[in-house]
Symmetry: C2
Subunit: 187 residues, 2 copies
Amino acid sequence: MGDRLRKHIEEVVPLSDDEYAFVLSHFSKEAYGKNDFIIQQGESVNHCYFVISGLLKLDYNGLDGKDHIISFAMENWWESDFAAFFTQTKAQMSLQCIEETHVLSISLNNYNKLAADFPKMEYFFLKKSNAGHIASQRRILSFLTSSAKERYEQLLEQYPILFQRVPKMLLASYLGVSRETLSRLSH
Amino acid sequence: MGDRLRKHIEEVVPLSDDEYAFVLSHFSKEAYGKNDFIIQQGESVNHCYFVISGLLKLDYNGLDGKDHIISFAMENWWESDFAAFFTQTKAQMSLQCIEETHVLSISLNNYNKLAADFPKMEYFFLKKSNAGHIASQRRILSFLTSSAKERYEQLLEQYPILFQRVPKMLLASYLGVSRETLSRLSH
DNA sequence: TCATAATTGTGATGTTTGTCACACAATAGT
DNA sequence: ACTATTGTGTGACAAACATCACAATTATGA
């Protein structure tokens, strides 16, 4: 479990023991309980997080008070309010634990230092960012092309595990439908 | 006009004349006519494009034969089917000119070489990729939080120029509503 | 310039989805 | 074990949006 980050990075670039130790020295380990907020809307965002275990939701609370889930973050995912993190502005989203969660966090300073001092990691971050961009485009496409029922079925196919770990009202919020509609879609 | 790319890069990192010449040597200039395809669904995607002038649409043709526009690309935008480009798979989207368009294209080889040989550009590409990811998240959020009418008004506010350059049926396709609904929303 | 194609507006109608209301089930904390 | 809280299912109704049909307008090209 201690080297989950290493395995994750080595899917993109190989690392020696020393290199991994150097990388790891830029992170700090944090633990959160269920329902804890890692990022709160309106506060400043100083870190980006790698999920070791547990489950997070990145969400936006609209003026109507409704919860809109931009993404879930499971084991091996990177998450933050990236807009706020990279531009050092206040969070427009919150990052909250759905389960007890362990993360490795990296500050923007350390992120920049790591990228600047260690080309392998700049390459890794670039790959990850591109992958994130592509994943977001896929999600946009599903809104453009698919009905609520189709989006539900796509999610069920792609991340069946979510249906066991996440209350359905949150899945509804992720899919962009009301919980009542989601309930009716499932049969 | 010839140094539009340079100005664009220098918004992120400064470049000497020599450095810019080096960067530029990795690109080739291409011109396309209205309605030309730069990328066709099903073909391989060997390049990523920087728009010097003109206007493109990145779209997906569903099984129903409908056009779903993932994004428009105007002056100073980078566009490609990034999933296909980075993983060297077949295009799932098409990239087509709405207007006569001039681009600078870079192959994946040159992209990787440029990033590897010239840290400033790897940094630049990382910044751009992060910005793209953030922009996509904003778009997801607008689908989650906003009605068709609200999305229409957001688009009108953010890119009024599109309403002069793009047929409304394409805007409808971008917003995810029928052209009839869009027509009714506009008054 | 004229004919053709592409785009736009609008009514009538049906489908999908949201909202409100309430009962019931599951979960968490003491 | 027992409340309080949180989550789920379902009916009735309203709102948003899609679809079809057709007329009107605006580009486009030989």
